[in-house]
Symmetry: C2
Subunit: 359 residues, 2 copies
Amino acid sequence: MDTNRYCIIMAGGIGSRFWPISRSDRPKQFLDILGTGKTFIRSTYERFRTIIPSENFLVVTNSSYKGLVLEQIPELREGQVLCEPLGRNTAPCIAYAAFRMKAVNPQATMIITPSDHLILDESTFLETIKAGAEFAEAHDALVTIGLKPTRPATGYGYIQVEPAMLENGVNRVKTFTEKPTLEVARMFVEIGEFFWNSGIFIWRVETILEAIRRFLPDTYQLFSSIAPYYATPLEQGHINRIYPECRGVSIDYGVMEKADNVYVRCSDFGWSDIGTWGSLYEYMPKDDAGNANEGAAIPFDTHNSIIKLPAGKIAVIEGLDDFIVVDTDDVLMICPKNNEQNIKKFIDTVKFEKGDGFI
Amino acid sequence: MDTNRYCIIMAGGIGSRFWPISRSDRPKQFLDILGTGKTFIRSTYERFRTIIPSENFLVVTNSSYKGLVLEQIPELREGQVLCEPLGRNTAPCIAYAAFRMKAVNPQATMIITPSDHLILDESTFLETIKAGAEFAEAHDALVTIGLKPTRPATGYGYIQVEPAMLENGVNRVKTFTEKPTLEVARMFVEIGEFFWNSGIFIWRVETILEAIRRFLPDTYQLFSSIAPYYATPLEQGHINRIYPECRGVSIDYGVMEKADNVYVRCSDFGWSDIGTWGSLYEYMPKDDAGNANEGAAIPFDTHNSIIKLPAGKIAVIEGLDDFIVVDTDDVLMICPKNNEQNIKKFIDTVKFEKGDGFI
C-alpha cells in the first residue's frame, strides 16, 4: 500500500430522494438500502481499505452525522472525521480536506469518493483507481473517473474525452455536460466518446489547491486564512466560523469545467449512484411479475413495483402497476414509480403539514 | 323500564371483512372503526341501556372474547356473558340464550341484536323496538325489524311484507330473500314492499323455543338435554360438551323462513351493518377528492379512497383511485375498493404463507 495515498469519503448528503427510508437523521449513505448486509459508507470504506491503510482515510460529513460515521467505520480515529457545520456542496468540502491534507502530508495523493454509490466489479474498480492515481502522481493533473454508459441516463453528468489515449489509459477531457435531455443522452451513448461522471476524483494536494486558488479564489482565501489551525484542536472552531461564509458550489462547476489540466480514466466496473428508487429497482432481485419486494409482501395483480417494508411487517397489495410502496414505522409512501421526482414535493408538503419529525 | 324485557347481544363474529384492522384477537365489534370514540358493542349496549336495565342483558360470544366483552361493558356480571366454545352460526347461539332465559325468567321477552351495526336515529330505533316488543308480547309472534332500503344493496337480506299493517305498525312477512343480484335488488327497491333484514329479532322465550323445537328439533334436543344446568355453575361444562355436536345454521334459514308466525316491524332509523370497507366508506367523513382519510394522509391525485393508518403515522399517497389502504402495526393492505370481496382470499393466502399471527 502506498502510504502517500489517501481516501477522502464525502458523506454529507441528506439523501432526500430515498425518503421516507432515508431520513435526515440517517441518510442514504448510512443505510443498507440494497439489502447487502452493509451500509453504503461501510462498503465504500471496505472497497478502498484493500489499497489504502485505515489511518489514511478522511470522511467529510455534517457534524450531526459524526456519530454515524464512527459507528459505521469504527477503525477511524475521531480526528479523521471532518465535520462541516452545514452543507455547502462539494467544493468547500474538498477545499477543507485539501487544506487538512496539506497540513498532514503535503505530498499526498487524494482519492475523493462519494459514500453512497454501488460498484459491482471491485477488482476492475481498484485497477482503475490505481491507474488514475499513478497518472495524477506523475503529472499536474486533475483526474476524474468516467464510466462507459450502458443506457441514455438523463440523471448523470457526461464527460466527453479527447480521442487520444495517454499513459495509464487516461484521456484528456474535452467537455462536461450535466444531466442532458433524453435525446442528447441517446446521442452521447451512440457517439461513444461520452462517459458518465462518477464523482470520483484523484489529484495531488498541491494540484487541487492551485486549481482552487485560481478558479475559486474566495474559497481558497477563506480556508487559507485558518492555515495555522488545521490538524490542531482549534481547527473545528475555525471551520465552524468560516463555513457559513463559503459559497455553495460543486467542484465540477467551480473547478473541473474551468481548468485545462483535467483528465479522465475511463472504465467499466458496474457502477450506479443509486440516486433514485428507479435506479435502486434495477439492482433489486425481482419476482416473476417484476416486483422488487424482498418477500414480505404478497402481491396480487401487481407488477413492476418496489415494495419496502419494515422488518417483521407483511403486506397484501392488489392492483398496482409500476408503483413504489415504502413503509416505515411512522411514514407510508405510495406513488407511481415514474413520478418519483415528486418525492421532493412530498417532503416539502409533509414538512409544512406535519412538521420536521417526519423528514 | 319493563323488567321482563331482555336484550341479547350476539357478539361472536370474527369480522374478517375488516382485516387487517379487525383481527381474530379483536374483531370488529370490539373496535371503534368509525372513529366515534366508542366500540360497536359499547354503542349497542348504551343504545339499549336506556330501555333495558343492565341486569337484563346477556351477551353471547366466543369464549376467547369474554374478557373483551367485560372490558367494554364492565356493568355486566360474568354470568351475563354466555360463552360459545366455537361458532355455530346464529341458531345455536339463540337457542342457548333462550334456554338460559327459560331458566331465569320464562315470561321474558327477548330482544336479540347484532353487536356491530351502525344506527343513526336512536329515538326512532327505540320506538321501533318498543312497538315490536309490544306486538311480540301480545301475540305468539316471531318479530323481526325491517329497514326501508335506501339503495339496491346486494349484500343484505330482504323481507317482503304483506301489505296490510297490523297493530303497532307490524306487518306479516311474505318472503325472505338473501343477497339478491343487483337487478333483483333494484326491482325490490322499486316495488316498495321489500325491506332490509336488520338481524334484530323480538319474541317471547316460549315462542322461540316452540319454533326451534318444531323446525330445528336436533338443536332443541341438544340444548334441552342439559336443561337442569342452565344458570348453574355446571352450565359452561355442558355447553362446551354439546356445542361441537350442533349443526351450524342461521336463525333466518333454520326458523324464520319456515315458520308462519313471522312478522316484521318496518322502520327507517338510518341503519348499516357496516359489513364491508365500502359500506364503512359511506359513513366516513371525506375530503373534497372523496378520500376518507381521517387527516393523517396527504393525498396527491388520489380520489374516493379509504386510508386508515395507526395513530401517529402519516402517509403520502399519489395516484390511487377507488382504493383501500389500511395500515396496521404489522400488516399493510392495499387493494381496489371494488375488489374487497378479495379480503377473504387475502386472509387465506396470508395464513398459508405467513402463519396465523397475521390473522
